[in-house]
Structure formats: C-alpha cells, structure tokens
C-alpha cells in the first residue's frame, strides 16, 4: 500500500473508530480500524460458499438434466421429492443413523469421560489412543471395515465363531448395514464425545460433589441429581457437533457400500450425491441437498434452544 493510501486508510479508520472507541479504559487513544482485513476471507467465502449456495438453491427450482436446457419449474422438484419413496427411505435411514449413533455415543461417551476423570494412570498414552480414531481419514475406516468385517474372510466373524456366534454379513446384509455403520461411527467418535465430557466435568465446581457426599447421597443419586444436570450443556454441545456430521453422513457409507445393498444404506446425502453425480439430475439433486441443509440447520437451531434451557 502506498503512503497516501495508508494515510487515507488510517484517517478513514480514525473517523470510523473514534466516536465509539472512547468508552473503555484502554480506548482512550484513537486506534486504526482493521476491518478491511476481513475482506479477503469474505471475498473468498462469497465466491466459494455464498454464491454456490444461492446457485444450488436456484438450480433446485429448475428442471436441469445433462444435455437438456434448464427450465424453471418453481417448486415442482420439492413436490416430486415429497412423493418420492426413495426420499422417504433416505429420510428414515438418516434419522435412524442419527438417533442410533447419537444415543450410543452420548451414553458411552459420558461413561468413558467420567471413567477418564477417575483413572489417573498413563494419561498421555490414554489420550493418544483416544484421539487417534477421529483423526483417521474416513477412507481408512472404510478400508479397515472392509477387511475386518468381510463376511467370509474377515477376522470379526472368526472372533464371533470362537464365542459360538455368527457369522454375520455386517455391511452386506440390508438388516445389519445401518447398525454396522452406526457402530463404525461410534468407534471413531465416542472418544471425542468422552474427551468433551471429561473437559466439561473437570470444569465443574468440586464442592458440590463433596457436599453431596457428606450429606450421604449415594453414587447413583450423585450421578442422576448432580453430575448429569451439570453436564447437560456439555452434552448438548457434543450432540450438536455429532448431529451435524451424522445428518449429512456420507464418507464411510459411500466408501464401503455406496448406499447398498439395494437401497439399505442410501441416506439422504448419498441419495443426493447419486442423483446429482451419477444420474446427473442436477435440479432434483439440488432440491434434495437444500432439503437436507434445512434439516441440519433446523436441528442445530433446536439444539441451541435446548442448550439455553439446559444452561445453569
């Protein structure tokens, strides 16, 4: 920037900042504005996020297939979606995966988080093992699942056979594929929830627990009446983070089953991807994606309300 440019910017900044910047003790001196520094990030976000989002929303109002000229059809794609059995199948599977995984991860994560607070040996090693699963690429999770859960040659069925169980088809059986995916995700992300719970638990006031113990509250009473309510905001935070990923779940399913067998694991995001990038029905796929986005935002907003209710 040239000297004049800098001077002009500084002057403009001073004008901008001076009237409101006098209040606090450290705001006695006029300071330059740094607001322009947001501009590059903002421009990038507009070009790569806002514009494409608007474009996708516009696309969802059109009949647009590869080779044909796009035609504006209003809300027809959304009407078609509501009458589409595949959409409702995807909706049901998305809901199932979300509820199942969230339940497992919150319950097991709370248990594990409180266990971590009690066990004080080898903290560094324990943390290393706990953070590893959720830092692994999803494709590695998928590759491990394919080798370990292989119905015929996988070591999982061999282990089950040693216990007199199985064999299971895991990802190859429409009846077990979603449960398997939910457990894969829980293997990867329960430690994450546990570490959030641990952090929340360690920041709670100690004296509440001591007072309850002196008053003769049993361990289960202390857990139900004190620990759990105090941890509620932490748990809601964990639920938000997991929900955002679970509702738009894609990677591990696409890598292992591509939505199969049949349609048994075609969640909404898989369905949207296949319609868009395998069948090239851009308009309809965009409608699916916008609907899924609305579901994710709605859930996050509901959780935000819940967190305010759970705050203490």
């Amino acid at each position: 920037m040239s000297v004049t440019g800098a001077a002009l910017a500084a002057e403009a900044a001073a004008r901008d900042a001076a009237p409101r910047r006098r209040a606090g003790p450290w705001r006695r001196r006029p300071t330059a504005s740094f607001r322009w520094m947001v501009a590059p990030a903002l421009a990038f976000a507009c070009a790569m996020i806002v514009l494409p989002f608007g474009w996708a929303a516009w696309l969802s109002l059109q009949e647009s297939v590869i080779g044909g000229a796009p035609r504006f059809i209003g809300l027809d794609n959304y009407r078609r979606l509501l009458a589409d059995a595949e959409f409702w199948n995807g909706f049901r599977l998305t809901l199932l995966l979300w509820l199942l995984s969230l339940a497992v991860q919150l319950v097991a994560g709370t248990w594990l988080g409180l266990l971590l607070a009690r066990v004080e040996v080898a903290r560094g090693l324990v943390r290393t093992v706990l953070v590893s699963p959720f830092m692994l690429p999803p494709v590695v999770i998928g590759m491990m699942a394919i080798v370990i859960l292989d119905p015929g040659l996988g070591v999982a069925n061999w282990l089950l056979a040693q216990a007199g169980l199985g064999p299971l088809l895991f990802l190859a059986d429409p009846g077990t594929v979603m449960i398997t995916v939910a457990l894969l995700d829980s293997w990867q992300w329960t430690p994450f929830v546990a570490l959030i719970v641990l952090g929340g638990y360690l920041s709670l006031p100690r004296d509440v627990f001591e007072a309850a113990e002196i008053d003769g509250a049993s361990a289960s009473q202390r857990f139900r009446r004190i620990t759990l309510p105090l941890l509620a905001p932490t748990l809601v935070t964990a639920a938000v983070l997991r929900s955002v990923d679970l509702l738009r779940f894609f990677d591990v399913i696409y890598i292992t089953t591509q939505g199969g067998p049949g349609n048994a694991s075609t969640t909404l995001n898989i369905l949207a991807y296949r319609r868009g990038f395998e069948f090239f029905e851009f308009g309809y796929a965009a409608a699916l994606m916008v609907t899924l986005s609305a579901i994710v935002f709605g859930t996050v907003l509901a959780f935000a309300k819940l967190r305010r209710a759970a705050a203490w």
Partner: protein
C-alpha cells in the same frame, strides 16, 4: 474395609479403561500388521500374530500403482489449502477479535453445517467452465472452504488473549497495519498458528468428497486412489492395508504434536456459536 473397596473400584476402573483402549487400538493394529504380512498370511484364520514382516505389500503398492504420485498430490493439495486458509484466516481472525465482530464467525459455521454435496454441484459447473476440473488449483480452492473456518475458529481465542496495549503501542511507534500484524501479532500467536496449520492440513488430507468429483487423472489424491482400490475389488488385502497405513500416518503423527489442544480446536465453533 473401606480402603479395600476403594482399591477394588480403582482396579475395576483400570480394567474398564484397558478394555476400551484394546477396542480402539485393535483395528488399527490389525491394519498395520496386515500391511507387513506376507501375501499368503494376510487372510489366514486363525490370525497369525507371529510372522516374518515383509515390505512386499508396500513395494507392490508403489511399483504397480500411481500411489506415490497420488500421495504427492495429496501433499500439494493439503499444503496449498492449509496455506491459503491461513493466509485468509490470519488477518480476518485478527480483525474479528479486535473489533469483536461475531457475524463472520457465525457465517463460517454455515459452511461447516451444509452438506458438501450442495457446494459440489455449482463448483463442478464453475470449474468446468473455467477449465479447472482435474487441476490441483480446483482442489486447493475447494479444500480451503474446509480449512478457512477451522483456521478462523482456532485462531480467534489466541487473538482474544493478546493484550491490546501491545498492538496500540506498535501503532503509536509508527508501524503500518500489515507490519503490526506480521511483526507484532504473528510471533505472539505463533502457537495458535501451529495448531491451526496442523488441523487444517489433517482435515484437508482426510477429505474425500471434493476430490472424488473434482480430481482428474493427474491430481487424484491418495484418499480417492485408495477408494478406487476398493472399487476395483482389490483382493490383495496386504496392499490395501499398506495404502491405508500410508494415508493414516500423517494425521496420526501430526495430531500427536497438538493433542492437548485438539478437542478444543475441533469444538471451538460449537462452544461459542
């Protein structure tokens, strides 16, 4: 009596934790062991835990496929998008912290919540029109959509902790704004930049969807190449596990460095927003 019960409880706690660790480590250990097993023993049941380790799976992986090139592509894309994300996020996060702006941070959460497929559709049209499909640049730009919000959210608390007087005195001493940022602020938030850079790199390295659609023959990442191995029905599990081991290594090593700050960094957006 009471002491005995406390000891029993401690013992049970330790046992439970050991079981959890076993469940978490076993699949990863299985993957690494399989990668070093001779071809004939990879699928052997009962599993052989004692075997003479070999590098033949890795040799086959790198000799028979383009995996080395794919890995280099991954490095270029992850490195490039990390750099781009940081260059954009660093001044933005500073200004957001200084002026207590909240709306840009909230806006970036939007990108974190919407399904990636939603952006992919317009991007495909956009990059096709620009002739960028199959280029490294398209992947760097799209992966920066992942890295930018991460970098902003990780950096914000570090800037918030910066004493305002230091920035103000730098100005009074006649520093230009970009000098203030680079010479005064940067050294003080350097630990935050390291955490942000590592998280960005790992997120970009791991990301699957964008490269699945937008990469071409010469820009295919190791992640997508591994997915293609599965799709081709590769029956050589040894080589498959060797590939998995190679792509799992950078995230595992990098996060080892910053594991104390990891969970805070990953959940920053949700805790505040």
């Amino acid at each position: 009596m009471v002491a005995g019960r406390a000891r029993l409880r401690r013992w049970l706690d330790g046992l439970q934790l050991a079981l959890v660790l076993l469940v978490l480590v076993a699949p990863v250990a299985w993957m690494v062991l399989s990668a070093f097993k001779p071809r004939t023993e990879v699928a052997a049941l009962p599993p052989r835990l004692v075997f003479s380790p070999t590098l033949e799976n890795f040799r086959e992986l790198f000799a028979r496929t383009d995996f080395l090139e794919n890995t280099l592509n991954s490095l270029v894309v992850a490195g490039g998008s990390t750099l781009l994300g940081l260059v954009l996020a660093f001044p933005a996060a500073f200004a957001m912290s200084w002026h207590r702006m909240t709306w840009p941070a909230t806006a970036t959460l939007f990108a974190r919540m919407a399904p990636g497929t939603l952006f992919l559709l317009p991007w495909l049209v956009m990059f096709t029109a620009l002739g960028l499909v199959g280029s490294h640049l398209a992947l760097i730009l799209t992966h920066a959509v992942i890295t930018l919000p991460v970098a902003i959210w990780v950096l914000l608390p570090y800037f918030d902790a910066l004493p305002r007087e230091i920035i103000e005195s730098a100005e009074i001493d006649g520093c230009r704004q970009h000098q203030t940022l680079l010479r005064v602020a940067l050294p003080m938030v350097a630990p935050g930049v390291v955490v942000a850079a590592i998280l960005c790199f790992v997120f970009s390295w791991n990301y699957f969807l964008f490269a699945l659609v937008l990469s071409g023959f010469s820009s295919k990442t190791a992640i997508v190449a591994s997915f293609n191995f599965i799709g081709e029905g590769v029956t050589n599990w040894g080589a498959l596990m060797a590939a998995a081991t190679v792509i799992a290594l950078p995230p595992l090593i990098l996060t080892l460095i910053i594991q104390r700050r990891l969970v805070g960094g990953l959940s920053a957006g949700a805790v505040k927003g």
